[in-house]
C-alpha cells in the first residue's frame, strides 16, 4: 500500500506539491489527472524515489521510499521523458536492468517484446516515439514490479497500441496483484482503465474518488413543472446536493449529487410535468465537481 501524508515539494519559490495526502491500495489502478504543471510528475518522482519530499512522507508498505533499495526494488517507473543509453538496443537496456533489478525476468522481456513486435537487436534511437514508449514499458514490466508508475504513458501511442499497453498493465494488476499509478493530463485516457481517480491542481489534490462511485453518485436531472419555480424548490430535498442548475423556460437541468433512487423518489413526489435522470460522463463529473470546489478545468 502506498501512503502519502502531507507531501510537500518546493522548487525554490514554486510549490509543486502542497500537503498532499492520499492512500493507494494494493491491486488497484490509480489514475491521476491534472493540467500541465499540476504536480503529477513531481508526485510520481517522489513515489519512485527520484525526489525527496521537503515535508510530509510517502511510504510503500510502511517503508520510506527515498534511497531505500528494498522499496525501490518493488517499483518500476516509466517517466514522461524517456532515457535510453546512447546507441543502446533493447537487449543492452535489458542487461542494464538485469544488473539493477534482481527480479528482472528475461523470458517476460522477450515475450512482451515479441508481442509488441519490437526488434530487441535494433538501436532504440531508430525507434519511433511510440515504440520507444513501448520499449520503456516492456523493460519496466519485466522487472516484475509490485508498484508500477506511468507518467503520461499513453502519450504518443496509437489507439491500437494504447489499448494493447493498457491490457498489459491490467494483466499485471489482475494476475500478479500489482498496483499501477498512471498520470495523464487527459481524463479520457484514464476513464476506462483506472479504479480510482485523483485530480491534481496547482500542487493540491482537490479530488480523489472511486470511479464507479463518481459515476453513480452524480447524475443529470431534467425536470419541468407547470408552475413557476426556481432552484430553491429543490434545495431542501434530503440527500440531494445540486452542483449545477440551469433553467430554460419551464425546463430545468440540474447536476445532482446523491443517492440516485432516493433523489428520483423525492423528485417524483413533487409531481413534475417532465422528469428524467441521465448519466454523466466522467469528464462532466469532474467538471462539475471541481466547479463546485471553485475550480475551472478544461479536460481534454
Amino acid at each position: 500500500m502506498i501512503k502519502v501524508e502531507n507531501l510537500t515539494k518546493r522548487f525554490e519559490k514554486f510549490c509543486a506539491l502542497n500537503a498532499i495526502s492520499c492512500t493507494i491500495n494494493d491491486g488497484c489502478i490509480y489514475g491521476m489527472v491534472g493540467s500541465n504543471g499540476a504536480g503529477k510528475s513531481t508526485f510520481l518522482r517522489i513515489l519512485t524515489g527520484v525526489y525527496r519530499a521537503d515535508m510530509g512522507s510517502a511510504t510503500v508498505d510502511g517503508e520510506e521510499i527515498f534511497n531505500n533499495p528494498v522499496v525501490l526494488g518493488k517499483i518500476a517507473y516509466v517517466p514522461d521523458e524517456l532515457y535510453f543509453l546512447p546507441g543502446a538496443t533493447m537487449n543492452r537496456m535489458a542487461d542494464m536492468y538485469k544488473s539493477c533489478y534482481a527480479r528482472f525476468d528475461t523470458e517476460r522481456f522477450k515475450k512482451l517484446a515479441s508481442r509488441l513486435s519490437l526488434d530487441v537487436k535494433k538501436p532504440i534511437s531508430t525507434f519511433s516515439k511510440g515504440m520507444k514508449r513501448q520499449a520503456a514499458t516492456i523493460l519496466a514490466l519485466s522487472t516484475m514490479p509490485e508498484y508500477i508508475f506511468f507518467d503520461e504513458t499513453f502519450d504518443g501511442l496509437d489507439p491500437v497500441m494504447r489499448n494493447y499497453v493498457k491490457s498489459i498493465i491490467c494483466e499485471d494488476v489482475i494476475d500478479r496483484g500489482a498496483t499501477a499509478v498512471i498520470t495523464s493530463h487527459s481524463l479520457r485516457e484514464l476513464e476506462d482503465t483506472c479504479d480510482q481517480l485523483a485530480l491534481l491542481h496547482r500542487g493540491g489534490l482537490i479530488l480523489e474518488s472511486d470511479i464507479q462511485n463518481l459515476k453513480t453518485a452524480q447524475f443529470k436531472v431534467q425536470v419541468a413543472f407547470s408552475e413557476e419555480y426556481d432552484r430553491e424548490k429543490f434545495e431542501n430535498i434530503p440527500g440531494m446536493k445540486i452542483l449545477h442548475f440551469v433553467k430554460h423556460g419551464s425546463v430545468a437541468n440540474m447536476i445532482v449529487k446523491g443517492e440516485r433512487d432516493a433523489v428520483a423518489a423525492s423528485m417524483r413526489a413533487l409531481s413534475p410535468l417532465l422528469f428524467d435522470i441521465l448519466p454523466l460522463t466522467l469528464e462532466e463529473v469532474f467538471t462539475y465537481e471541481t466547479a463546485a470546489l471553485g475550480y475551472t478545468f478544461d479536460f481534454e
Binding site: 522548487f11 525554490e12 518522482r45 519512485t48 524515489g49 527520484v50 525526489y51 525527496r52 512522507s57 511510504t59 510502511g62 517503508e63 520510506e64 534511497n67 531505500n68 533499495p69 528494498v70 522499496v71 525501490l72 526494488g73 518493488k74 517499483i75 517507473y77 517517466p79 521523458e81 524517456l82 532515457y83 543509453l85 542487461d95 542494464m96 538485469k98 544488473s99 539493477c100 533489478y101 534482481a102
Partner: protein, 694 residues
C-alpha cells in the same frame, strides 16, 4: 515507519558490472592508445638509435630509459580519467537519465561507490597493463637500453594518483552542477583555485618581505606537491617529471587529496537532488558561490598588485581599476551564460558585496602574514640553534659538495655565533624596507671599497618556531662563524667520516668487471678506515690538491656521485688494494676478443667508433684510444688471426674523430693491442659507438 533497510547497501556488484560495461568503449580506445605506445616506443627507439655491440658491459653507457621516456603516453590516463568519469556521472546532467538512474533500486552510496570502483579498476588496468607491456619490451631489448626499472612503479603510482584526483574532482563537480559548462568550470575551480590562492599569497608575501625563503616555508605550499597543479611547472621547469610525478611526497599528497575528495564526492552525490539536472547549480546559493569564486580568480591579480605595490600612483590605480572592471564583467557574464536570463544580472548584484569582502579578507590575510613574518626577530638568548646554508665553494666537486652539505646541515649553538646571526637578522629586516636597492646586498668598508654581502639561507629555531630566512652576511661575520664551526668536533667528524655508499654504486676505473662486488666493498671499507685515521689538516691538504697519478674511487651517496682520488702518496693502503684488484680483474682473453669481433654483429668491412677506450701497455702505462674509428677488417683476416695468435690484435685506425682534417677512411696508423700482457682494458661509449666490450 520501517526504514531499517535504507542505508545498508554500500556497494553493488551489479552496478559495478554495469559501470564497467558503460566504460567499455572509451576504455578500450584509451587502452589501445597507451598500449600501442608501450609497444611502439621501444621499437622506435631501438630502430632509430645507433646499432650497438653489447656483449658484456656496465649499463652506465647505454641510453638511459626511465619509465617516463619509456611511455609518456601513460599520461593519457589522465584524459581517460576525465572522460570515463564524465561517462559514468554525466547522467546527472540530464533530467531523463537522472530520473532513470535515481529510481534504480540501489542506495545513493552504492551507486557512487560502484561507479568509483569501476573507474579505479579501469584506470588501474589502463596503467598497469601497458606499463607491463612497456617493461616487457625493454626487458627484451635490455642489451640496448639502460632501463631505470626503479622509475616504473613511481611513474605508475604518480599517474594513478593524478588520475584518481581527476576522477574525484569531476565526481564532486558533477554532483554539484547540472550542465557540462559548469561541470568543467567547477572542476577547474576545485582543482586549481585553492592552490592558486595559496601560491599567490606565498609569492606575494615572499616578494614583499624578501628575507622569507619560499621553498622552505612548507613542502605543502609548493604547487608541485599536487601532481595536477604541478603540471603547471612543466612550463617553467624541464625536470618536472623527476620532481612531480615521480616524487613520492607528491604522489602521497595527491592520492590522499583524491581520497578526501572521493569522500566529499560521496557525501555530495548522496545529497544530490535529481532536479538539479540541466541547471547550472543545484540552488541559487550555490550558483552565487560559483559566480563569486570565478570572479575571485580574476580578483587575485589586483589583490596581488595592491599588496606588492609600495606606492600606489595614478597608473597603478588605473591598472587595478581595470582588473576590477574585468572581474565585474566576468561576474555578470558568468551569470548570463549559465542562467540565460537578463533579469538575473540585477538579482546577482548583491553578491558583489561578498566579492568585496573576500578581496578584503585576502588582502588582510596577506598583510597579516607579512607582518607576522617580519616580526620574527628573536634575541640571542631566545635562539636555540641556527643552521647556515651558503655556497662554500669547495674546490672538489662531489666530495667537496658533500662536505658543504654536511656543514650546511650543522646546527650551531655557540652563543657568539647565535649573537652574530641575531644581529644580522635585525639588520636585514631593517634594510628589507628600503626598496628597490636593498642596502643589505652591498656595503662599503672603511677604505671606501665596495663589497657584496654573502647571501645565506639561515634556519633559526626560537622557542617552538623554526623560520627560514635569507640573510646577508659580511665576509668577516661568516669567517667568524666558520672559525667557531671549525673548532668543533662535529666539523672534524664531517671531514674524516666518509659517508656510506649506496648499494652497488662503488666503481673505479670507470666501471667494474666480472669481479665479485664484494672486493669493491672491501676496498671502500679500507678507504673509509684509512681516511678516518688521518690528521684533519693532512687530509684537507691532500683532498684539496690530490696527486696527479690518482685513481678515483667513485660511489653514490644519497643520489650524489662522490669521487675520492686515491694515490699511494696520501692513501697508500687503498692504492695498494686498487693495484691488487686491477691485477685480479682478468680482462678479455685474446681468443674471446677475436671471436667477438669476427663473429659478432660487425662484418669484416665495418668500422667501430671507439668513443673511449684504453689499453694497458706492458709497462703498465695506459694508452687512450678515445675518439678513434677502427676498422675490423684486419681483425678477421689471416694476418690479424696470426696477430692474435702472436699476442696482438691489430686495429687499423681510419680516423681520429677529433681531427677535422682527416677524411674518413684514410689510414692513419695501425695500433697493436698487446693483449697477451695486460689485456684490453675497457671500451665504453656514450650512445654513438661501441658499448662496453670487455
Amino acid at each position: 515507519m520501517k526504514n531499517n533497510t535504507k542505508h545498508k547497501e554500500i556497494w553493488s556488484f551489479g552496478l559495478y558490472k554495469e559501470s564497467l560495461r558503460r566504460l567499455k568503449i572509451p576504455a578500450v580506445i584509451f587502452f589501445v592508445i597507451i598500449a600501442a605506445a608501450a609497444v611502439l616506443i621501444p621499437l622506435l627507439k631501438f630502430f632509430s638509435g645507433p646499432q650497438y655491440i653489447h656483449l658484456s658491459c656496465t649499463s652506465d653507457y647505454l641510453p638511459r630509459m626511465t619509465a617516463v621516456n619509456a611511455n609518456p603516453f601513460l599520461l593519457v590516463c589522465m584524459i581517460a580519467a576525465l572522460t570515463l568519469t564524465y561517462t559514468l556521472f554525466s547522467f546527472q546532467n540530464k533530467r531523463s537519465s537522472s530520473d532513470l538512474y535515481f529510481s534504480q533500486p540501489h542506495s545513493r552510496l552504492a551507486m557512487y561507490t560502484s561507479r568509483i570502483t569501476a573507474l579505479v579498476t579501469v584506470i588501474a588496468s589502463m596503467i598497469l597493463i601497458p606499463t607491463g607491456i612497456s617493461a616487457a619490451m625493454f626487458a627484451i631489448l635490455k642489451q640496448h637500453f639502460n632501463t631505470q626499472w626503479d622509475t616504473f612503479i613511481p611513474y605508475m603510482a604518480g599517474c594513478f594518483a593524478a588520475a584518481m584526483l581527476i576522477c574525484a574532482v569531476f565526481a564532486i563537480a558533477m554532483s554539484i552542477t547540472g550542465t557540462i559548462l559548469n561541470n568543467i568550470v567547477v572542476a577547474g575551480l576545485i582543482m586549481y583555485l585553492p592552490r592558486t590562492v595559496l601560491t599567490l599569497v606565498v609569492a606575494s608575501v615572499c616578494s614583499k618581505f624578501p628575507l622569507i625563503v619560499d621553498g622552505y616555508i612548507s613542502k605543502f605550499l609548493s604547487p608541485g606537491i599536487n601532481i595536477l597543479t604541478g603540471f603547471l611547472e612543466i612550463f617553467l621547469s624541464t625536470n618536472f617529471y623527476d620532481k612531480g610525478i615521480l616524487s613520492s611526497s607528491a604522489q602521497g599528497y595527491t592520492f590522499c587529496l583524491a581520497l578526501v575528495y572521493f569522500v566529499i564526492g560521496a557525501v555530495l552525490f548522496c545529497r544530490r537532488k535529481s532536479e538539479s539536472a540541466e541547471r547550472a547549480a543545484p540552488t541559487p546559493f550555490m550558483q552565487s558561490v560559483y559566480r563569486i569564486l570565478i570572479t575571485m580568480v580574476v580578483c587575485l591579480i589586483p589583490c596581488g598588485l595592491i599588496f606588492n605595490t609600495d606606492q600606489i600612483g595614478s597608473y597603478e590605480i588605473f591598472v587595478i581599476f581595470c582588473y576590477y572592471i574585468i572581474a565585474l564583467l566576468v561576474y555578470l557574464f558568468y551569470e548570463l551564460i549559465t542562467t540565460r536570463k537578463w533579469k538575473n544580472l540585477v538579482k546577482c548584484l548583491p553578491g558583489l558585496v561578498v566579492v568585496v569582502l573576500l578581496n578584503a579578507t585576502l588582502l588582510g590575510t596577506m598583510f597579516g602574514i607579512y607582518l607576522a613574518e617580519k616580526g620574527f626577530s628573536p634575541d640571542t638568548e631566545d635562539i636555540s640553534y641556527v643552521r647556515i646554508e651558503y655556497d662554500r665553494k669547495s674546490l672538489i666537486a662531489g666530495y667537496g659538495n658533500y662536505i658543504d652539505d654536511q656543514l650546511n646541515k650543522l646546527k650551531i649553538t655557540d652563543p657568539e655565533a647565535l649573537d652574530t646571526v641575531s644581529k644580522v637578522l635585525d639588520r636585514c629586516i631593517e634594510y628589507s624596507e628600503t626598496l628597490p636597492y636593498y642596502p643589505m646586498m652591498r656595503y662599503t668598508d672603511e677604505y671606501g671599497n665596495a663589497h657584496y654581502y654573502k647571501e645565506c639561507i639561515v634556519e633559526i629555531k626560537a622557542g617552538s618556531k623554526i623560520k627560514y630566512r635569507t640573510l646577508y652576511f659580511r665576509q668577516d661575520e661568516l669567517d667568524h662563524i666558520d672559525s667557531i664551526i671549525e673548532s668543533s668536533e662535529a666539523y672534524k667528524d664531517i671531514w674524516l667520516t666518509l659517508p656510506e655508499a649506496d648499494s652497488g654504486s662503488i666503481i673505479f676505473d670507470d666501471g667494474y668487471g666480472s669481479l665479485d662486488y664484494g672486493r669493491y666493498e672491501e676496498l671502500f671499507d679500507t678507504l673509509r678506515t684509512e681516511i678516518a685515521s688521518l690528521d684533519l689538516a693532512v687530509w684537507k691538504k691532500y683532498i684539496n690538491n690530490p696527486p696527479a697519478d690518482n685513481v678515483p674511487i667513485k660511489f653514490v651517496h644519497d643520489g650524489r656521485i662522490i669521487s675520492i682520488p686515491v694515490s699511494a702518496w696520501g692513501l697508500p693502503e687503498s692504492a695498494a688494494m686498487i693495484a691488487e684488484i686491477r691485477t685480479e680483474n682478468s680482462l678479455i682473453s685474446p681468443e674471446e676478443m677475436y671471436n667477438i669481433l669476427r663473429n659478432g654483429e660487425f662484418g669484416p668491412n665495418k668500422n667501430i667508433n671507439i668513443l673511449s677506450a684504453t689499453y694497458v701497455r706492458a709497462n703498465g702505462t695506459i694508452r687512450d684510444l678515445s675518439n678513434t674509428t677502427v676498422s675490423l677488417h684486419d681483425c678477421i683476416d689471416t694476418e690479424a688471426e696470426l696477430n692474435v695468435k702472436n699476442g696482438y690484435l691489430l686495429f687499423k685506425i681510419l680516423k681520429l674523430k677529433s681531427d677535422n682534417y682527416t677524411e674518413h677512411g684514410d689510414l692513419i696508423s695501425y695500433v697493436y693491442l698487446p693483449i697477451n700482457e695486460k689485456g684490453i682494458d675497457r671500451y665504453k661509449g656514450d650512445g654513438n659507438g661501441i658499448y662496453g666490450i670487455k
